[in-house]
């Protein structure tokens, strides 16, 4: 496969403040790549370096095989970009704004532009300053999409969009991928990434902590297991089992986190009178939060019963 985006030891410092440190990425043609991280982790910094809006302190980045600092305009010809926060010309209407950006690029298919306006249900006759936050986001998305770029760089693309428009956006993203084009989207909304991305990178404090397929990330993660016994809980017996951690007993219920195969837990539980067994496959959100050392969600496993076997909450 061809690398569309490639970074090597990409580092950016803003004076004494950390931007990103030693980021290595390879994003291949035709994939939707999610870039996950909390606020201030370095997502936007990475994207802005790819656009040559920022110059790396060290390391390098290439897009379409072109060094970002060498010929950014050649890169810009083939990308569509939506910033996380942006403003446009207050006095222009949405339609005039789209026309101007189409003219800056050239070669925009008017019929396709019109279809995007229709799919996003945008009124192009209103001035930009009169739009709501969501409608401004729609204008930004159409600007990014209207020239059918080879690569989409989208920084938190669904911010401000209502659920129906989000669906429209995800459908468009699928169309883009079906046509063999590539998308790189940053987000801190895990459901969004889980639904749309092939691969995910998790960035924390400016450094990548994980890059993998969405499925693999989930497989790598733990299972939350809840065992309900008829009698006193044999805590010590479970604590010594391989792959088991965070064992917590309350009343006759045992909560534990399991990494790896489930067989030893089932065998140990079978030696006691077991009333209920719940194993919950973690969501990407829980995986993500686990990476950041936090307890996954407030809705714990004890409240989600899936009788007779493992349950899925996503």
């Amino acid at each position: 496969m061809t690398s569309i985006i490639h970074t090597e030891k990409l580092t950016k410092w803003y004076g004494k403040h950390r931007g990103v440190v030693d980021v290595d990425l390879d994003i291949e043609a035709g994939e939707v790549f999610g870039f996950l991280g909390p606020n201030g982790a370095g997502k936007t910094t990475t994207i802005r370096i790819l656009l040559d809006h920022l110059r790396p302190t060290s390391g390098r980045a290439t897009v379409f095989g072109i060094e970002t600092t060498a010929d950014p305009v050649a890169i810009h010809r083939r990308i569509g970009y939506l910033p996380g926060e942006f403003t446009l010309y207050d006095r222009l209407t949405g339609g005039q704004t789209l026309e101007y950006f189409a003219n800056l690029r050239g070669g925009v298919d008017q019929a396709y532009q019109a279809s995007l306006i229709e799919r996003f249900d945008l009124d192009p006759s209103r001035r930009f300053k009169e739009y709501s936050k969501g409608n401004k986001q729609k204008v930004g998305l159409i600007i990014a999409l209207q020239h059918q770029p080879d690569l989409l760089l989208l920084d938190e693309p669904t911010s401000g969009l209502d659920p129906l428009v989000q669906q429209t956006f995800f459908a468009l993203l699928r169309d883009v991928v079906d046509e063999g084009r590539t998308a790189f989207l940053s987000s801190h909304i895990l459901g969004e990434v889980e639904k749309t991305c092939d691969r995910v990178a998790i960035i924390r404090d400016g450094s990548l902590v994980q890059v993998d397929r969405v499925d693999a990330l989930r497989d790598l993660a733990h299972h939350q297991v809840e065992l309900r016994f008829a009698g006193p809980v044999p805590t010590a017996e479970f604590e010594s089992l391989p792959g088991v951690s965070d064992v917590v007993a309350s009343e006759h219920v045992l909560h534990l986190r399991v990494f790896g195969p489930m067989t030893p837990i089932i065998q140990a539980a079978g030696r006691h009178e077991l009333l209920d067994f719940v194993s919950r496959e973690p969501s990407l959100e829980e995986t993500f939060l686990a990476q950041f050392g936090q307890q996954a969600g407030t809705a714990d496993a004890g409240q989600e019963h899936a009788a007779g076997g493992p349950g899925h909450d996503r």
Partner: protein
């Protein structure tokens, strides 16, 4: 169906605020506004204090004997009102305070008034526009209280500044006085500072009251026009009969006899100024209370025709963004120029009656300079202020260009095949075109006024383009600084250069500073364009700075990160 809502929750009492929190301005809207205005307060206070002490020392040193003072007083007193113009009536000019009051008094009032206009237009209207006022207004305070606290903060800052000004005046008299009568008593220093503060606040009160109605930019424009217009009209009321009636409406005219540094007091004249300011302040508070937050005029501004929006190219778009402000500046300066040019006949007639000898002297020195026609009067009255206003217009154009980056629009623009260099050059050319559009408008107005006065129109029309040259150079300074460093302070740099140029041009000859100091002012190199005398070196210098600024900005822009 009725729904029992239960008792309303009792809000928690406000926590006691720490001393640190209060000192750093986080304890109240008042404190935060003081905090936000600290830099402006320090700058204005520093500027006027420096001027008082610097000019006081220089004046005392330049005229250090009783004989020199008598000659100075005789010169000033022999000047008919038609020539004294904006300086007003000379009173006790032989003393340090009297000379200071006559020569520079109004300059302090104008500096402080500009500060007040900018501060009071932005404290509510500007904050409403950027959205931060929504958050403040969501706090458990009424809108009236927010407005009053913000107003009180500016009054506090102005009071601090004026107290320092009074102390500086007193110190200047005590430290630099060289002849008898140079001492400036405390009452005179306080009277002068009070006058400066009131003139500043009444000018700012216009911006304050208009801000919630028409938005920040328009409020600044109206308030500045009224302030400058009032100053000009009042200054020339004695020599231009057409101004006499309007002058009675200006606070400069009301207080014309209050010259405390010269030992002449007219405290009563300050009362109407204070009353007008208080009424406008209260009106502004009420308007803010009663109107929707951040909603300015409901009259939709007319849209430009599609062809003027410049959707086809970056240069066209950059110019399209500037057109509305260019038209506004052109009309504003044009109105000023038209009034001055149209009044030139009255001025000429008065001059022939009052100072025929002066006309002869001027003719001897400058054979082409006929001070009695429109060109001569424009050169005397319009050009100096015209340079300042055109310079501020340039700062405005630079600010609009810079807004691409400061607003974050550049993120999307530079994600297209538009290079950094092309973006900067297109923005610079757009600002140059804005200067051109503005100049054509006010040059036509000047020519029209000159025609009405019966003077020839071509020379004043062409002379008006000297202001364009200065404005082009200032655009070059702003675009250069913006490209090289950051665009967020490019407009401020231009404004500072304009003010510095004005002060150098004003003070260097008067204080007999070395000639090279005066030559630092770009406006000292533009000849007397309204009477057809041009200085080629100045033209080349202005164009060089304009083009050089864009080239320097292009070089810098290629080497730096975009702003966050």
């Amino acid at each position: 169906m009725t729904v029992e809502m239960g008792r309303p929750p009792i809000s928690a009492p406000r926590p006691r605020l720490s001393i640190t929190s209060r000192l750093f301005g986080f304890g109240s809207i008042y404190g935060k506004t003081i905090r936000d205005s600290r830099l402006a307060t320090i700058m204005v206070t520093g500027l006027i204090t420096g001027l008082v002490l610097g000019a006081g020392k220089a004046v005392a040193a330049a005229f250090d004997t009783p004989t020199a003072r008598i000659e100075l007083a005789n010169l000033a007193n022999s000047m008919p009102p038609v020539l004294a113009g904006l300086a007003g009536n000379p009173v006790n000019v032989g003393t340090l305070g009297g000379y200071f009051e006559w020569k520079y008094g109004a300059t302090f009032a104008i500096i402080a008034a500009l500060w007040s206009i900018l501060a009071l237009s932005s404290t509510l209207a500007g904050e409403a526009r950027q959205g931060s006022l929504d958050l403040v207004a969501a706090a458990p305070f009424g809108k009236r209280r927010i407005a009053i606290e913000k107003l009180a903060a500016h009054l506090t800052a102005m009071t601090i500044s004026m107290v320092v000004l009074a102390v500086a005046c007193w110190v200047a008299g005590a430290a630099f006085g060289t002849v008898l009568g140079d001492e400036i008593p405390a009452s005179a220093a306080i009277g002068f500072a009070l006058w400066v503060g009131l003139i500043a606040l009444v000018s700012g009160s216009i911006a304050w009251v208009l801000g919630p109605l028409v938005g920040r930019g328009a409020a600044v424009g109206f308030a500045a026009a009224i302030m400058f217009g009032g100053y000009i009209v009042s200054g020339y009321a004695a020599s231009v009969p057409a101004f006499a009636t309007i002058a009675n409406l200006t606070w400069f005219h009301w207080t014309a006899n209050h010259l405390p540094l010269a030992g002449q007091y007219d405290w009563i004249s300050l009362v109407p100024v204070a009353i007008v300011a208080i009424v406008l302040f209260l009106l502004g508070v009420e308007l803010f209370e009663r109107r929707d937050l951040g909603e300015t005029t409901t009259v939709r501004s007319p849209s430009l025709p599609p062809a003027a929006l410049g959707l086809r190219s970056p240069v066209g778009r950059a110019f399209g963004e500037q057109i509305p402000v260019a038209l506004s500046w052109g009309l504003g300066i044009g109105l000023f120029g038209f009034v001055v040019a149209a009044a030139s006949r009255s001025f000429g007639d008065e001059l022939v009656k009052q100072a025929p000898g002066f006309i002869t002297v001027v003719k001897t020195i400058y054979p082409d300079f006929d001070i009695t026609n429109a060109g001569g009067f424009l050169q005397l009255v319009f050009v100096e202020f015209g340079f300042i206003i055109a310079g501020f217009a340039a700062a405005n154009f630079v600010g609009r260009w810079a807004s691409d980056e400061t607003s974050g629009r550049i993120e999307m623009l530079l994600a297209t095949p538009l290079s950094r260099a092309r973006w900067l050059q297109a923005g610079g050319i757009g600002a140059f075109l804005a200067v051109g559009a503005m100049t054509v408008i006010f040059a036509l107005a000047v020519a029209f006024g000159a025609g009405l006065a019966g003077s020839q129109v071509v020379t004043p029309f062409l002379g008006s383009f000297s202001l364009a040259l200065f404005a082009l150079a200032m655009v070059g300074v702003g675009v250069g600084a913006g490209g090289l460093f950051r665009t967020s302070f490019a407009a401020e740099i231009v404004a500072l250069v304009v003010i510095a140029t004005f002060l150098i041009d004003l003070l260097a000859p008067a204080l007999k500073l070395p000639d090279w100091v005066h030559q630092l002012a770009l406006t000292a190199h533009l000849g007397q364009p309204m009477v057809g005398t041009w200085d080629p070196a100045g033209i080349i210098l202005c164009l060089g700075i304009a083009v050089g600024g864009v080239l320097l900005g292009t070089w810098g822009m290629a080497r730096r990160d975009l702003a966050d």
